[in-house]
C-alpha cells in the first residue's frame, strides 16, 4: 500500500476511535437538518418549488465549525506526542505525511456529505427537484470543504497546540470569507475584481445554482494545493531550527 494511504487509513481509524469525528458530524447534521426543516416548511407555505439552493449555502457556512475541529489534531498532536519524529524518520516523505492526513479529513467530509444526500432524496421523493443542480451543489460543497480542510492541515502543521491550530484555521477562513465584503468597499475596479476572485464564499454560489464554473473549481483546487504545499514546507522548516 502506498505510504499516503497507509497514513490516511491510520488517521481515519483514529478519527473514529476518538469522539471528535462523531461530535463534529453529529453537530453538523443536527444544525443542517434543523435549518433544512425550517427552509422546507417556509417553501411549502409560500408554495415555492422545492430546491436545495438555500440549503447548500447553509451547509457551506456550517463547514466553518465543522472543518477546524477535524483538522486541528492532524499534525499538531503528532508534534506534541513526538510521533512526527517517528514518521519523518521512516522511509516516508514529508509531503506524503501531509497528503495522507489531508485525505483522511476528506474521508470524514465525504462521509458527512453522503449522509446529507438524504435531503436530496427527500426532495426527489416528495417534489420534482432536478438532479443536475443538486449534483453541482454537492460538488461545490465538497470542494469548499476540501479547501477548508487543507487550511486546517496547514495551521495544524504550524503549532503543537491543537487549540491554536483550530483558532488559526477559523481566523484564516473568516479572513477569506470577508474578502467578499471588502470588494464592495474599494472603488478601484481592479481591486474589486481581485478581492472578488479571492473571496471564498463567492466561489460557492455558482455551484448551488447548478453551475459548474471552471474558475470556481480552479479556485478551490489551487487553495488546496497552496495550503498543502505550505504545510509541507512548514514541516520541513522544523528540521532547520
Amino acid at each position: 500500500m502506498p505510504n499516503i494511504l497507509v497514513i490516511a487509513k491510520r488517521e481515519l481509524q483514529s478519527y473514529f476511535v476518538s469522539p471528535i469525528a462523531y461530535v463534529a458530524i453529529a453537530v453538523y447534521l443536527v444544525i443542517a437538518g434543523f435549518i433544512f426543516v425550517l427552509e422546507m416548511t417556509g417553501m411549502a407555505q409560500y408554495g415555492a418549488s422545492p430546491s436545495l439552493q438555500g440549503q447548500f449555502g447553509t451547509m457551506v457556512f456550517l463547514l466553518l465549525i465543522f472543518a477546524p475541529p477535524l483538522t486541528m489534531r492532524l499534525l499538531a498532536e503528532e508534534q506534541r506526542m513526538g510521533t512526527l519524529e517517528l514518521l519523518l524518520t521512516s522511509p516516508v516523505q514529508d509531503w506524503q505525511v501531509v497528503l495522507g492526513k489531508f485525505l483522511a479529513s476528506l474521508g470524514v467530509l465525504l462521509l458527512t456529505i453522503v449522509i446529507t444526500f438524504a435531503y436530496g432524496l427527500m426532495l426527489r421523493a416528495y417534489g420534482n427537484a432536478d438532479l443536475g443542480p443538486m449534483a453541482a451543489g454537492y460538488l461545490g460543497l465538497f470542494l469548499a470543504g476540501g479547501a477548508l480542510m487543507s487550511i486546517g492541515v496547514l495551521t495544524s502543521a504550524m503549532t503543537q497546540n491543537q487549540v491554536i491550530a483550530a483558532v488559526l484555521a477559523v481566523a484564516t477562513i473568516l479572513l477569506l470569507w470577508v474578502l467578499g465584503a471588502a470588494s464592495q468597499l474599494v472603488s478601484n475596479l481592479t481591486a474589486t475584481q481581485v478581492f472578488n476572485q479571492l473571496a471564498f464564499f463567492e466561489h460557492t454560489t455558482n455551484f448551488w445554482r447548478g453551475i459548474i464554473d471552471t474558475n470556481d473549481a480552479v479556485y478551490f483546487l489551487s487553495l488546496m494545493a497552496l495550503a498543502l504545499f505550505l504545510a509541507t514546507r512548514v514541516l520541513e522548516t522544523r528540521r532547520w531550527r
Binding site: V6, S14, V17, S18, M81, E85, L87, T89, P91, W240
Partner: protein, 313 residues
C-alpha cells in the same frame, strides 16, 4: 556501518554537537554515554535524518544521512527518547502501521516476530494508552525492530523503567546483537559496561573518550576510592590508615566514616581491614566507592584541555 565525520550542529550561539567523529563496525553494540544535554539526542537525530547537520557528514551503510535520507531510513530502526506511540491504537495495529510505512512484505509475521522478541504478545490487542511505562518502552523497541533493520538507534532505551524492567530490556538488547549494529545512548554507567562492546563518551557536544568498557573501567579505577566506617576515631586511626602501603590520602567524614584514595592497580582492602582491626578499632563497613558519572566527566575533561576551556562559558 555508521561513519560520522566532523558532525556539527549549531543552535543559535550554542553548539549542541561539535566536530564529532566516530565509526561503528557491523555487529557492534556501541554505547553513547554522556550527561543530559551532552548532545546524544541531537547526534542520533542527525543520524536518523530528522535533523540536518550544520557541518560535517554522517553515513549509515554507505548512504549519506542527509542527501540519501530515504535509503538510510529504510535500514534503521529508531527509538526516540520519548517513545512515540499513538495512545488510541492497539499494540498490534500500531506495529502493523509502522511495518506498512517501512514496506515490510509479510506484515503479519513481522509484527508477530517483533512482539515475540519483546515479550508483548499477550498485550497485542490492548490499547497503548493503557500500558505501563515498561510495556510502552517495549512497544517502542518492537516498533524499531519490526522491519528487521540492519542498524538500531536507541535513545535512552531504559529510561524510566523499574530495575526489573531495566534488566529485561538490557537482556533484550544484548540478544539482538550479532547481525545488527546497535548504537544506544544512556547516562547510566553500569548499563554500558553490561551491554556494550565499545563506549563513546560525549560531553558538551564533543567526544571526550572512546574505549572498550573494560579499558575505560581500568582507566577510571586508577584512582579508586574505598569507603570505611569505623567505630572509633582520632589522629592515631588516621595515621594507621595512611600508613597502609598504596594509600594516597584519607578524608574524614561524619559518624566515623572515612574515604581512602588508593593508588592505581592496587587492591589494599585486606591491608586496610587488618590495619583497623589490629589497631583495636571496630571495622563496621568497608566498600569500594563507585565513581559517579560526574566524577568520570570531571576526570575526562581534566585530561582534555580543549574540553576544559569549554567549561568557562
Amino acid at each position: 556501518m555508521i561513519d560520522v565525520e566532523g558532525l556539527t550542529k549549531i543552535y543559535g550561539p550554542r553548539a549542541a554537537v561539535q566536530d564529532l567523529t566516530f565509526h561503528v563496525e557491523k555487529g557492534e553494540i556501541v554505547g553513547f554515554l554522556g550527561p543530559n544535554g551532552a548532545g546524544k539526542t541531537t547526534t542520533m537525530r542527525m543520524l536518523t535524518g530528522y535533523l540536518p547537520p550544520t557541518d560535517g557528514r554522517a553515513s549509515i551503510a554507505g548512504f549519506d544521512t542527509f542527501s540519501q535520507s530515504l535509503d538510510v531510513r529504510k535500514r534503521i530502526g529508531y527509538m526516540p527518547e520519548t517513545v512515540p506511540l499513538y495512545p488510541e491504537m492497539a499494540v498490534a495495529d500500531y506495529l502493523d502501521f509502522m511495518a506498512a510505512l517501512r514496506h515490510v512484505p509479510d506484515r503479519k509475521a513481522a509484527v508477530q516476530r517483533a512482539m515475540q522478541v519483546t515479550h508483548i504478545e499477550d498485550r497485542a490487542r490492548m490499547n497503548i494508552g493503557k500500558l505501563s511505562k515498561g510495556f510502552r518502552q517495549r512497544v517502542g523497541l518492537a516498533q524499531a525492530l519490526v522491519h528487521d533493520p540492519d542498524v538500531l538507534i536507541l535513545d535512552e532505551p531504559t529510561i524510566g523503567l523499574d530495575p526489573r524492567q531495566i534488566i529485561e530490556v538490557r537482556e533484550l538488547i544484548k540478544s539482538l546483537a550479532g547481525q545488527r549494529t546497535i548504537l544506544l545512548s544512556t547516562h547510566i554507567l553500569p548499563e554500558v559496561e553490561q551491554i556494550c562492546t565499545r563506549v563513546l563518551i560525549i560531553h558538551r557536544g564533543k567526544l571526550v573518550a572512546e574505549d572498550t568498557p573494560q579499558n575505560l573501567g581500568a582507566r577510571l579505577h586508577g584512582s579508586a576510592r574505598i569507603g570505611l566506617q569505623i567505630a572509633g576515631d582520632g589522629p592515631a586511626l588516621q595515621k594507621a590508615l595512611v600508613a597502609v602501603p598504596g594509600v594516597l590520602s584519607v578524608e574524614t567524614g561524619e559518624n566515623g566514616r572515612y574515604q581512602v584514595s588508593v593508588a592505581s592497580d592496587q587492591d589494599v582492602r585486606a591491608q586496610l581491614a587488618a590495619a583497623v582491626v589490629n589497631g583495636g578499632w571496630g571495622l563496621l563497613e568497608l566498600a569500594p566507592v563507585g565513581m559517579s558519572l560526574e566524577e568520570i566527566f570531571l576526570q575526562l575533561t581534566k585530561e582534555e584541555p580543549v574540553a576544559a576551556e569549554e567549561q568557562t562559558d
